[in-house]
């Protein structure tokens, strides 16, 4: 479904991503693991069209994405919940969700999806007219995911959804991700929380300073010594 090949992305003159290749198959959950500065968010931003590639290519459903502006990429079916959630804090929950559906023209479908999000996250429905900035971290993460889902994406990219959340809230979010997968959404999950991410993932890629070091199925990586040492605190 998504095919990234030899992708190089730079901030100014510094290459943040140094030629990575990976793919996401339809219906899978794929996770990119790595520490700060490994290039995970840069990868997602490049796929979303916010950053230009220096070289390499991104293909989605057989169509190349290079040169496609960010707002058109959403129309192609790729949505992102960005790092740090980046909600429109002064706007209401409902306004945030409606902005998520900005590129859609089927008013009736948007209404149904809005109702679905409120069913998935009841707390958002109950407080739909309150400003997004007033919600707790976990609730804001739900809203960020809900907002991304409002574009009815084929591929949902989540950038560190567990950031700053309690273990219980992290579990809730991870359960939500599994639920979305069961509804047919393909998911690209960027995480530092390796155990949470790998327990869901069909496939995982480990990034270090802009390069993919190794990859395997989620299960295999959970048991991999290198991963256990670096990311799971085992010695």
């Amino acid at each position: 479904m998504l095919e990234v090949k030899d992708m190089v992305v730079a901030y100014g003159r510094v290459n943040a991503v140094k030629g990575i290749s990976f793919s996401v198959e339809k219906g899978q959950i794929v996770t990119l693991l790595g520490t700060n500065g490994a290039g995970k968010s840069t990868t997602l931003r490049a796929i979303s069209g916010l950053l230009k590639l220096v070289s390499g290519s991104i293909t989605f459903e057989g169509e190349p994405l290079d040169g496609v502006p960010a707002h058109k990429i959403v129309e192609r079916g790729i949505a992102q919940s960005p790092e740090g959630r980046r909600l429109f804090r002064k706007m209401s929950v409902e306004d945030n969700l409606k902005l998520g559906a900005f590129s859609r023209k089927d008013t009736a479908g948007v209404k149904t999806d809005l109702a679905n999000i409120y069913e998935l996250f009841p707390v958002l429905g109950e407080r739909r007219h309150e400003a997004a900035g007033l919600f707790s971290g976990g609730e804001q993460q739900m809203l960020a995911i809900g907002r991304a889902m409002m574009s009815r994406p084929k591929l949902l990219m989540l950038d560190e959804p567990s950031m700053g959340l309690s273990p219980i809230m992290t579990q809730t979010i991870m359960r939500t991700i599994l639920k979305l997968q069961s509804e047919g959404v393909t998911i690209l999950l960027v995480e530092q929380n390796a155990s949470a991410a790998l327990s869901l993932a069909d496939r995982g890629y480990v990034l270090e300073v802009g390069q993919i070091m190794f990859s395997d199925t989620g299960k295999a990586l959970l048991g991999d010594d290198r991963v256990r040492k670096a990311y799971l605190g085992a010695d």
Partner: protein, 319 residues
């Protein structure tokens, strides 16, 4: 007491003129953090566009007041808007967009350059357009029968019809802006972009288009101000945008730059302060020559004691 009311109404109508221009500074700043110093010239070009529309219509002079107010005036406003909006979009596309990622100083200097360019362009070339008079000196603005030179009297207080037009136009524009920002899809996209442009892109918002609509909305209001200026002072000239633009910028900062309501309030406050200062400050400091001084004294005071402006600087938010 009559004098107070007289100066209040004078101040409000002058302030409404500032406010109509100030909205353009604030909307553009709210989205791209650019002080568009050429905006005063967009106002000037709008006035010239309205004038040119009148010429193209055959320079009509004799008509009923109904024809003038409901036919000629709207035509001139639309003509002025077409000119000012096209000019604003052209400068955005050709001059500002290529500098979107440059250091902030670059577009600022460019804006000053565009301002000088537009002034000189009108001064040197307006008269070369077939049918148009030479613009090296002030041009008499067309008379709109029923408005120009007409006034109402309340006891000893005189209210120019042109003042009523200006204040009415501001009221209508404020309502329109509220509706636009809060109730239309483009308006919501504008608020989102002003809060976080990258995330707005992730929502599928075409940020370039949002920026263009910000320039267009500001220019349209500036064109209305251009017509109001012509009706109020009876003439227009290529320099009219400089001081008016500076005052409107002051008004925008006064109200809190980036805040649409702030621009409206800031404009009105500035107009009233100017008009009151020239009346109630004793001695030579209250002479008309000092009115600009008081306007900028007010700006400095606000910048020192309330730098966020009267209503608080913020991104373009609930209008």
């Amino acid at each position: 007491m009559d004098l107070f009311w007289q100066q209040l109404i004078n101040g409000l109508s002058l302030g409404a003129l500032y406010a109509l221009i100030a909205v353009g500074y604030t909307v553009v700043y709210g989205i791209v953090q650019l002080i568009n110093f050429a905006h005063g010239e967009i106002f000037m070009v709008g006035a010239f566009g309205a004038f040119a529309t009148w010429v193209v219509m055959g320079s009509p002079k004799e008509m009923s007041w109904q024809m003038a107010v409901f036919g000629l005036l709207p035509a001139m406003i639309v003509g002025g808007m077409i000119v000012s909006v096209s000019m604003a979009l052209l400068t955005e596309r050709l001059a500002y967009r290529p500098l979107r990622d440059a250091p902030r100083l670059a577009p600022l200097i460019t804006a000053i350059g565009i301002s000088v360019f537009l002034q000189e362009f009108v001064r040197l070339f307006f008269g070369d357009i077939p049918g148009m008079p030479d613009a090296k000196r002030a041009i008499p603005f067309p008379t709109v029968i029923g408005i120009t030179g007409q006034s109402l009297h309340f006891g000893n207080v005189t209210v120019q019809i042109s003042a009523i037009f200006t204040i009415g136009a501001l009221a209508a524009c404020t309502i329109f802006l509220w509706f636009y920002v809060n109730r239309t899809k483009t308006g919501r996209a504008m608020v989102a972009t002003s809060q976080d442009p990258d995330t707005a892109r992730l929502m599928g918002i075409n940020v370039d288009r949002v920026i263009m609509s910000a320039f267009a909305v500001g220019a349209a209001l500036a064109a209305i101000a251009g017509v109001a200026h012509g009706l109020r002072y009876g003439n227009i000239d290529f320099r009219m945008g400089f001081l008016a633009g500076l005052k409107a910028f002051t008004a925008a900062v006064l109200g809190g730059i980036g805040n649409i309501n702030g621009a409206v309030v800031g404009g009105l406050v500035l107009g009233v302060v100017e008009s009151m200062a020239t009346t109630f400050i004793p001695g030579q400091f209250g002479s008309p020559a000092w009115k600009d001084v008081w306007a900028f004294v007010l700006l400095i005071l606000v910048l020192v004691f309330r730098p966020q402006g009267l209503l608080g600087a913020k991104v373009v938010d609930r209008a």
